[in-house]
């Protein structure tokens, strides 16, 4: 009996281990980063932000003086994968530090997986973000697979920039709750409530069963100047939101706009049973080290020591009708605007809007809806 039992045990273990088949070659094909060596080889002040590496694009934000006509950026890719540039005639050329590329127009790169079965094209572009004057939320685009909307910012020079504003929509895509692009927390809509074409509609939504699986029962609608890094959205949501860009052209005096807010009825994660959801709209001016851009994050966007001034909606309660707001930048004690610092690229700015103030901590009421339009920054010398 004992012998039999041990034979059976052995058999069971063999059954499992013997069935493990040879490891397949990697099927992933990502640009995982930008070569630090290449970044360091460029003059100080060339970049005004850390490169934004998305799933199918890499965006470099550069200063107005930066020459982008002859560059040979180097990228880090998934181990085993190979990267090429896609030429106009469709040929693939391997990267070389000696082959200089003109980035006046975006360039397509292709990464092919180790197993050769998968490939992904990346649009690599160099942008010079313009300071924000007015944002009326009229232009938007869709993400790579068309599942959600992304705000396009019409810059003062008429160009459309997809990398100024971001939202948590990419994270919501994983919950499977977004049956179509308008079912996401952050959307741009035009309807009978419009006061000036499209407006930004931010809604706190349930993330459903899958959101519950990862302990994130709600997703607040949000829209902010900066970058949402979806890959960290589950493990470290407070650091997935990277707030701010070097888009300060002058001393900002205030932000203004119009909003409407309807809090949802049932609070998730309420600290007190009587808690009512509230919206939040604010702008933060903060210091950055030129050449070493550090954003603010979800847990320090209002408290970081580098903050110079904050413009804050004083009251995030219900507003039935469109309500005008003008929020002055209030300076942190002991800090003031330094024009010399600005000229060196030493300031960054973010604007943040959310349908649930506690959204970063998954506190909010499903159904809370914030509508914003005609957002404007008033600069001192406009």
């Amino acid at each position: 009996m004992k012998q039999l039992a041990s034979i059976l045990l052995l058999f069971s273990v063999l059954l499992f281990s013997a069935c493990i088949r040879d490891e397949a070659l990697s099927s992933e094909c990502d640009i995982t980063g930008v070569s630090q060596q290449w970044i360091s080889s460029l003059p100080e002040g060339f970049f005004t932000a850390t490169p934004v590496v998305r799933n199918r694009s890499v965006t470099f934000m550069v200063s107005d003086e930066a020459d982008v006509t002859a560059l040979a950026p180097l990228f880090e890719v998934t181990p085993g994968a190979t990267i090429f540039t896609v030429e106009e005639d469709g040929t693939l050329l391997p990267l070389s530090p000696d082959r200089l590329i003109d980035f006046t127009m975006p360039k397509t790169y292709r990464v092919v997986s180790e197993d050769g079965a998968w490939q992904k094209d990346y649009t690599v572009s160099f942008e010079r973000p313009r300071p924000i004057d007015l944002c009326d939320f009229e232009d938007f685009t869709y993400n790579d697979d068309g599942s959600y909307q992304r705000l396009l910012w019409r810059q003062t020079d008429g160009s459309l920039n997809a990398n100024l504003w971001d939202s948590g929509n990419a994270g919501f895509a994983f919950t499977g709750q977004g049956s179509d692009a308008t079912a996401y927390p952050t959307v741009f809509v035009s309807d009978e409530q419009s006061i000036n074409g499209r407006y930004a509609q931010l809604r706190t939504l349930s993330t459903g069963v899958f959101g519950t699986f990862v302990g994130m029962p709600i997703a607040a609608g949000n829209l902010f100047v900066g970058e949402f890094q979806v890959k960290n959205a589950v493990t470290d949501p407070l650091h997935a939101t990277r707030f701010g860009l070097s888009i300060v052209r002058d001393e900002p005096l205030s932000i203004e706009g119009d909003y409407q807010y309807e809090p949802g009825s049932v609070m998730t994660g309420a600290e007190q049973p009587t808690d009512v959801d509230a919206c939040d709209i604010y702008a933060v001016l903060f210091e950055v080290t030129p050449g070493d851009f550090q954003p603010l994050f979800g847990d320090d966007v209002k408290t970081n020591e580098r903050i110079v001034a904050i413009a804050q909606l004083p009251d995030g309660s219900k507003r039935d009708a469109w309500t005008h707001f003008e929020l002055p930048f209030v300076y942190v004690s002991g800090k003031s605007f330094d024009e010399t610092r600005r000229q060196r690229g030493g300031y960054a700015l973010t604007i943040v809007m959310t349908s649930s103030t506690g959204g970063a901590y998954f506190r909010g009421a499903v159904g809370s809806t914030l509508k914003v339009d005609n957002l404007k920054i008033n600069w001192k010398n406009s």
Binding site: M1, L4, A5, L8, L9, F11, S12, V13, L15, F16, S17, C19, I20, R21, D22, E23, A24, S27, E28, C29, D30, N55, S113, W118, Q119, K120, D145, A170, G171, A173, F174, T175, G176, Q177, S179, S206, T207, G208, V209, F210, G211, F213, V214, G215, V230, K231, N232, A233, V234, T235
Partner: protein
């Protein structure tokens, strides 16, 4: 409580045929008892001529050890980091009918209350999954990281077996079984890894900990095949080992939460009292 009362009912079910068995087989037993043989010979004579074309009843207990796994194992499963067979017990009563005069061939029908379960922790790479939640949420992606799975299902199983006696002590058996799910857990967690949305080129999201629970959706009716061997240890005690292989997945075929079929493959080790 529900489970305990079920056990009681089943135990009484088991004891009823056992009593009858002893009544019916009194005559046969008398024959054996009156045979002046050494204890070992007595034991090995259990399947012998006296019981030819007669009935034999057994009741016993055992445990199951094995796994509920996709077959063949997908290439995406890289390593079983740990495997805990859990303590899965079973109770069984069997009625066996001999046909030929040498008592070589017999068929049996049994009733078994059994648990099949395990706890595993596996490393996977690019493990494709597709899930639809009750609220309509749909997720498809490839998971690279660790997966913990905990399965424990209680079944009422009816095995129909053909037995063949190899020697005085040894016999082998094989046949199908049908099972009725009484109670089941299927839950676990995916942790320390990342999910790629849709396919390997999709958005990547790191996940430290995500739990799942599909226990309510386990299939009620299961069937499979069983094959094994038995050995008479003493005159009244029979040791038995058998491999049971589920022929239908533990979730319904069109179940969209877990799209790959998981089959229960378990060895049963048991000890039966022969009446």
């Amino acid at each position: 409580m529900k489970r305990i009362s079920l056990f009681v009912i089943l135990l009484s079910l088991f004891s009823a045929p056992a009593l009858r068995a002893s009544d019916i087989s009194t005559e046969i037993a008398d024959t054996i008892d009156s045979t002046p043989l050494a204890p070992l010979s007595t034991c090995v004579s259990q399947y012998n001529a006296p019981r030819a074309k007669g009935w034999l009843f057994t009741a016993g207990a055992g445990f199951q050890i094995g796994g509920t796994a996709p077959t063949p194992m997908p290439r995406s499963i890289r390593k079983i980091e740990s495997w805990n067979p859990l303590l899965c017990l079973s109770l069984e009563a069997q009625a066996r009918r001999f046909f030929d005069s040498e008592a070589r061939w017999s068929v049996s029908a049994g009733l078994r209350l059994e648990q099949k379960g395990m706890k595993t922790d596996a490393s996977v790479k690019g493990y494709h999954m597709e899930m639809t939640a009750d609220d309509g949420g749909y997720m498809e992606g490839e998971w690279t990281g660790r997966v913990k799975t905990h399965v424990r299902a209680s079944y009422l199983t009816l095995p129909l077996l053909v037995h063949y006696r190899l020697s005085t002590r040894w016999s082998v058996h094989a046949g199908p079984y049908v099972s009725l799910l009484l109670d089941g857990d299927f839950d676990g967690e995916a942790y320390d890894g990342y999910l790629r949305h849709h396919d390997p080129t999709g958005e990547k999201a790191y996940v430290t900990h995500a739990t799942y629970d599909f226990g309510d959706d386990l299939r009620t009716f299961a069937w499979g095949l069983q094959a094994g061997a038995s050995c008479m240890i003493t005159s009244r005690l029979e040791g038995t080992v058998a491999l049971t292989v589920g022929m239908n997945g533990i979730f319904p075929k069109d179940y969209s939460s877990v799209t790959f079929a998981l089959y229960p493959v378990y060895a049963r080790i048991g000890l039966n009292y022969v009446f």
